[in-house]
Amino acid sequence: MTGDVWSFSENAAVASEVALAAEGLAPAVQGGPVVVEVGRARDGVRGGGERLVLQGCPQDGPAEALAECISRAAKSLGPAIILVGATREGREVAARLAVKLDVGCLPEASRISSDGKTVSAERSVYAGRVSATLTSPLPCVVTVRPGSFAKSTGATGTVRNYDAGTPEVRVRRLGSSRRETGSVDLKSAKVIVSAGRGVKRKEDLPMLEGLASEMKGALGCSRPLSSDLGWLSEEHHIGLTGVVVKPDLYLAVGISGQLQHIAGMKDSKVVAAVNTDRDAPIFQASDYGIVGDLYQVVPALRKALSARH
């Protein structure tokens, strides 16, 4: 079938990545890439091709409303493929869209291709141990793993407004608070120092942050530090349920190296690890390892970095 390839994310940075995926895919279905925007076109969103601006819908969601608006437009305009950034909100948008449009859905794609009749998406499964290619007939909704595509630099084409009406919303937002622990852009960091449960107290994180900044890098963490302990925001959380990173250097400090964590950093160029346990699985996934207490090794690393050579 032929048709356009739509891309959508409520997150502006992810929207530009998904737009690039749509640009790559559009020729295969003999359509154009279309960046779908809700309420108004955002300045920060890049992407070649048409801007489809859905009027009527509340700009900042919730997902329930976004999905309804996009599905109304899709029912009348008939895109071949709809790509949605696989953020926490985006997954709900995609899931609802696929059901509303009664089309298939391929999740967590890191690569996407089409032969004009079907769409194929590569994703990782079984805690990142396996890479699988899944195929579904067109039309289809695909959720795209953030970080898998670069950001589009494409120029905006024609803007097309579509009145999608104002949908009913059941879930009421009572309030929202930004996470206190700040944000970080790990996807563009060349060096990542990543903290795990081996770090005993939140107050010890500045020591690792110091090491990271001396290496011109950023601080990341394992899931327990962000999700369970709340020491760092979810944007620092690396792995299956967090972000996927591919820095030049990934230095895991006090991280055991469970499969779900490895899933998020295994494509790093060089991996190094510091851990007290010589048998920790992280050493199997590392190029360089130091068996030792991070409270001694980290200061020693900082000293070695500052030494003249």
């Binding site: 909100e89 009421r172 999700s227 190094a272």
Partner: protein, 255 residues
């Protein structure tokens, strides 16, 4: 309050074996209850202890999936529904259609609890698809829940923010792992679980009107990255200096 909880019998990622060509041996692979699904069961049990009612565990999977259902019953669910389907289909449309259809048959539910994602094929799509199919409200990634007779309040854990919401019932809720600490069933509870009722339904009987959108699995292969696995030995200072040296030689740090 009638609560359903969706538990998946997931492939045990740690036990997965591969053939010499690097293809995973999915058929016959060991399984276990999805790690986060235990948090969903725990959340369901806590709702029951606060407002009363029944907890029904539901699973879609092969014959083996009965094990995870039994585990939910051992943790405290009152009864189970097992939708017998081909295992490992990697198709959230089908799974959610089967869950929604079996929930419609199994009773009137006020709450359907799920986990944020399944531990083997994490996609986070099944719970919102179930909500959309049933016409229920949906609250994803809940880390705190408060339920009254008419509504549920939740704190959602999003990437950049914590959002509090109120939702009418019935609702589908997905929980994150920090929502609670799942209980361990006692030996007696495990023994008693086999006496609890489990209804078995065949997938083809639920979806007789036609299938769901097909997903075919083209290829599967093991990820492998070769690493050097060099331990840097010596005193702490020596090892640290060696590491910094090695990283400079690799050209991955510019200091």
């Amino acid at each position: 309050m009638n609560v359903a909880v969706c538990v998946k019998h997931a492939v045990d990622e740690g036990e997965l074996r591969f053939d010499p060509a690097g293809r995973p041996l999915i058929e016959g692979a060991a399984g276990k209850m999805g790690a986060f699904d235990k948090n969903a069961v725990e959340a369901a049990l806590r709702v029951r202890s606060e407002v009363g009612g029944e907890v029904v565990g539901v699973t879609v999977g092969g014959a083996d999936a009965r094990k995870s259902l039994k585990e939910a019953l051992a943790m405290g669910a009152d009864r189970g529904v097992h939708v017998l389907d081909e295992p490992h289909l990697l198709n959230p449309s089908r799974t959610s259609a089967l869950l929604a259809a079996s929930l419609r048959e199994a009773g009137q539910f006020d709450l359907v609890l799920c986990a944020e994602g399944s531990s083997d094929t994490y996609s986070g799509l099944v719970p919102p698809m179930v909500a959309e199919r049933l016409g229920y409200a949906y609250v994803g990634y809940a880390r705190k829940l408060g339920v009254t007779a008419s509504e549920v309040r939740a704190e959602r854990s999003l990437e950049e923010s914590i959002e509090s919401v109120a939702s009418p019932l019935p609702a589908v809720i997905s929980v994150v792992s920090e929502a609670n600490e799942p209980r361990y069933p006692t030996l007696i509870q495990i023994m008693q679980a086999s006496k609890k009722p489990v209804a078995e339904v065949r997938a083809q009987d639920l979806l007789s009107a036609g299938g769901t959108h097909s997903v075919t699995i083209g290829s599967m292969f093991a990820h492998s990255t070769d690493r050097k696995r060099i331990f840097l030995e010596g005193t702490t200072d020596e090892a640290a200096a060696k590491l910094v040296d090695a990283l400079r030689k690799e050209g991955v740090i510019s200091v």
